[in-house]
Symmetry: C3
Subunit: 353 residues, 3 copies
């Protein structure tokens, strides 16, 4: 619990109204309760905050003199709320730290102090769940899974047997951790499934978005390092090793056995082929496809296949220019060949097959 | 309930058999019940319809004289069944309008008349569910969620706290509505999560495909307008605002804070970057990546990066042609430089890094 | 159950230690039990195997003389374990073949001998589940679904009404089978949903990855042939017909009504447009987009749009080369036009709209 004064000081904000009011949580102007610090970035939110039960409003707007609640005015509301959120408070609704009577928990599972388990959640044999963990409704935690303290797993998540999840990690709904990797051996007499016997290991302070997948390893493990942030619908294949502080935007994928260094950023819908080694501090543009087997530290790649961003932009722009100069270029070519370029049929739908 | 005659009139169909038979539902020839109108587009369906309990068959084929059931012959079976479906009937199986004894409903939730809640569904505190709503098995509806009348949410869906869903909307299994947007602030001392305090607002007559995601907003809301149709595995990021009548084919994504006008169509696996403004009546080709910040009304874009479709096709075709003329072009270049073009190494896997 | 000697013979392995020891299962060195054959590909796994309860270790490393358990040394551990797995043993943990007291099974459903149903699983009316089937926790099986013997469906899967699933098939968590296809008819007065009345039919020995989707058909069925292997987050749209032995890597999609022959391979994030006909033995590169309506047997395609791989690589490399020769080419063009090429503005973000 902090006071309006303490909150304002933390973000160099300017208080109007009573500075001694106590704040116990953070919430939107439409869903706040007593004790909440709320915010307003548009006038209607200021109005909602006024009429609701919140105890204090943070805003980047001017507020009229008669406003009936304490106001903290800040310049950068996103940064300010992020500071407040990460320093003192958590967003509501908070998990309740209770075990729902309709949770199904194996007798051999260990549940840490103050951890909450949702309705219809299923906790497998020998699962070891730390303290202050929150497991959502209808989530399934497999046998032998370990989950570190302070981790929050939302509703309808599936964590396969043996997975290891760190501390203060967040996993959103629909995510699947530790499903079988995609491995088969084709022989003349049939297709054989390669047993996937490693596990998925997720670090501390990781966030995994809705409906994302991290597969288990084949013999070794799949590893997602500390502070990795995966957006929604991301695919991390078997045996991938990711370093720390990696950001992967939505619908991107990393194929089997590739390694990714620290501080890497992947744009949306981008992909990394299998058995690729990506260095540290690499940036991969949206929708790019990295197929090079070795990407040096600090590279900035774009394109399909991905290459240096400056080259990619130069090449793309040059192709646009060349197409504009088609007549002149064809004339030049004709000068060389003496032909009339008769096979210059437009066929963008793909020849040769 | 309608008669065979009324149904036939609606679609300008030709009846053979008894026109007064009553129709109460619509079903496939393999899963129909008494009272059902079924269909046949291949002979085996005609046979299945004959042997099953359906009361009437709609078909575009000729049916032999002795066929033992009323038949409505139409020219366009897809259009005809769509008309019947949207005018009078609904597809089976219908939800039962019952609350399963194993649903878990907060005491503070409101459930409208004739609404059904599936087994193990979890309905949060203060949730406000309209009449004639159907909530599937194992679906989780968070605290403070509002759902308009006639909406159907299938099994294993997750709707996060505070989300607002309109009327007559359909949400398929595995979809996740209102999970946290992907927002972080990186500082020298660490990565901080930006609290995601807005909600997801879904309009009327929307359809959201299986395993699709619509994130909640940061401070403002994420908005999906009326009549928007999202296919499977689609990603709608935080703070996106979508107009009406937008179609988004499977595996496409719209990144954070972008706006999309009315009557926009996005092909499969296409993407829109963050903070992009797409006008009305825009068409975006499959697998295209829109990175321009402003797309005018009526644009038709293709490519990576997306550009006018005619230019894209022209450029793609011209590159194919240029590659065919490589020898001549290299000769021309050699004429300018006097060199032998020695650095013309093929390197499609991406240079410069 | 087999002996160490029998296992070693199967994979041409070299035994050290007691050859008569009995093996009853296959497990990782970290999660094994008595009777298990485990493996070691790194020294720490050899150590874990030594200290754990496993009865035998397969490895490709040299093992010191005093190692206290029987060891089978092989050259190719992946192949060897695949052979063992597919011949004799299954990976642990095995489903228990029990019906959880908290499963919800319709009175009209049929469950075959030795089949297990997880906690909170919901089995619909007239569902027909074969013997030796395993249904995971919180999985929903709709009305009239048929599932063949030996099939394993993991947790949190949704199978819509009427779907047909073959024998010895595996479906991973979060997958959605038989949701409505994406079909609408737009008229001046509104957008109408086309009823999706076919079903999804999945063959024998299929594997479907986590969070993948196979939609139901419109009037006809969607068909996934025997031995098809779908990775995670794959989309198979309505009315698609897939042959046998098709591999589809993660995040790929096949649009409505396309047909795919036998022995086709699709790389990650690739796509096939609607109403496309792909022959047998076709290979489609990662992130490629097939828009041609007819792809011949044996084609190898890459690119966007997808074309013959050799042409794609040649064209991509040639564009890179041309961009390097920009100065020379512009000089040549200037020679033809007499202009200074003044419109050669770099604009890679897409013109024309």
């Amino acid at each position: 619990m902090i006071t309006v004064q303490e909150a304002a000081k933390l973000v160099s904000g300017e208080i109007s109204g009573e500075a001694g009011v106590k704040i116990t949580g953070l919430a939107s102007p439409y869903h706040s309760g007593p004790g909440c610090l709320t915010f307003a970035v548009v006038p209607e939110q200021l109005e909602a905050a006024k009429n609701g039960p919140a105890s204090c409003v943070m805003t980047n707007m001017d507020v009229s003199a008669g406003y009936p609640k304490p106001v903290i005015k800040v310049r950068d509301i996103k940064l300010s709320l992020t500071v407040i959120y990460n320093t003192f408070l958590k967003i509501m609704p908070q998990p309740k730290g209770e075990i729902h009577p309709r949770a199904i928990i194996s007798g051999t599972a260990k549940i840490g102090a103050n951890s909450g388990i949702g309705a219809n959640a299923v906790i497998g044999e020998r699962a070891d769940i730390g303290k202050d963990v929150s497991i959502g409704n209808n989530t399934v935690i497999g046998d032998d899974v370990r989950i570190g303290e302070g981790t929050r797993i939302y509703d309808n998540v599936t964590v396969y047997y043996g997975s290891v999840i760190g501390r203060n990690t967040i996993i959103h709904s629909g995510a699947v951790i530790g499903a079988d990797g995609f491995g088969f051996i084709t022989r003349p007499d049939g297709i054989y499934k390669v047993p996937q016997m490693g596990v998925a290991v997720i670090g501390d302070n990781v966030e995994i978005g809705a409906n994302s997948c991290v597969d288990r390893g084949t013999f070794d493990n799949t590893v997602v390092g500390d502070n990795v942030k995966l957006d929604n619908l991301v695919q991390i294949a078997h045996n991938v090793k990711m370093g720390k502080n990696v950001f992967v935007a939505a619908q991107s994928g990393i194929a089997g056995s590739s390694t990714v260094g620290d501080n890497v950023m992947m744009g949306g819908q981008s992909g990394v082929s299998d058995h690729v080694k990506i260095g540290n501090n690499v940036q991969i543009g949206a929708k790019s496809a990295v197929i090079k087997h070795n990407v040096k530290d600090g590279s900035v790649l774009w394109g399909y296949p991905a290459r240096d961003v400056k080259l990619f932009l130069k090449e793309t722009a040059f192709l646009i220019l060349l197409a504009k100069k088609k007549r002149e270029i064809m004339k030049l070519i004709k000068g060389v060949t003496g032909s009339d370029g008769g096979d210059e049929k437009d066929d963008a739908s793909g020849g040769g097959s």
